[in-house]
Symmetry: C2
Subunit: 190 residues, 2 copies
Amino acid sequence: MIRRNPELLAYINEFYIENESGILEEKYHPKQRIIEQNRRYNWVYIIKEGITKCYLSDENGKDFIQEFLGEGMEFGEIEVFSCNPSFCCIEAITELVVYKISYIDFNTLLENDKKFNRLVIKSMAAKISYKAPRHSYQQSYPIEDNILRLQQLFPEFTKIISKNDIANYLGIALRSLNRTLNQLKDRNKI
Amino acid sequence: MIRRNPELLAYINEFYIENESGILEEKYHPKQRIIEQNRRYNWVYIIKEGITKCYLSDENGKDFIQEFLGEGMEFGEIEVFSCNPSFCCIEAITELVVYKISYIDFNTLLENDKKFNRLVIKSMAAKISYKAPRHSYQQSYPIEDNILRLQQLFPEFTKIISKNDIANYLGIALRSLNRTLNQLKDRNKI
DNA sequence: TTTGTGTTGGGACAAATGTCCTTTTATAAA
DNA sequence: TTTATAAAAGGACATTTGTCCCAACACAAA
């Protein structure tokens, strides 16, 4: 549920210590947006500390949460390659510290640093491979199964993430989430 | 709905013409599986001609179709980076011609051919960016809206893809697909 | 021909889920 | 303290969707 990439973070930390690396640090408070949907940016971000949500909002104001991103997760990199405006919002949930790299420096690193290149590809491969089973499971199984699955993968999920965000992550109504949680409690399943 | 990547195909075609490129060609018939779920392979594939479906099956025999892949689409590459067994099945829908490259040659190309490296990254970025809005839309909107959306993006979808596959792509029961198609016809919406 | 198999189509009913609305609680601001 | 605001909780009802059937049809195999 909250994705992390310690390997990438460790590598970026090394860079940041050196001078002239072109990597900057920034801080955000909860509810601040780092990236808005359908805008153009020139920065790729990597989370140093904290948690964000990555979500799409539609015309009707419905939000659908793609992922919760934790330490070492990258965002804004897809748009370097697709050349499209951002397709999602990134919003801080906790106090947040990020590294940011300009598109130019990011591209230079990609071309000249084989280890960095491989780490970026690996992080993209990971994004693809966890999206697939999640999408599949959410579509094919009832809400109850999805909650039990979350519970198992991430026992403290209700502590850190608001009910509303959990519902938006599961793509269900808040009412349905509450109802199902109650049914599970009644049967001592949770 | 049916994804393509002509840019990558064009580049691979060039390689294939030259000798000693390490690229092989293979043919498959409809319903043949090129990749099974949870197995290990040593080949990355690129579609030269034809259409496949990429799907996950679960314990209960339910299939969920991730994508329909057409010319130039790559598969099997994620496992090079994640080092996990395959997370989905790839099955031919039409007569199919693919190029295949061994992991070793694929890695060599990635390291030594900057253009190839960039094309592979771009193809992965595209996979990430079309998965997001699809997942979001399918979860948040009723079946009817999803069918109308398919209809618009891909008018001939019922000609090429079986009803069952369409239902599995939308993550719904075949019965629900038929019912909704009828309702749309009754209202002359389709 | 018969037999089997896969695809399409739909009736009847049950279960899951969403919408709308109200209430309570906690927390922050005035 | 009061006021405002957001989060959590749940009742009542309508709608959507799935499950379990069965039937018709096409097509290939025997």
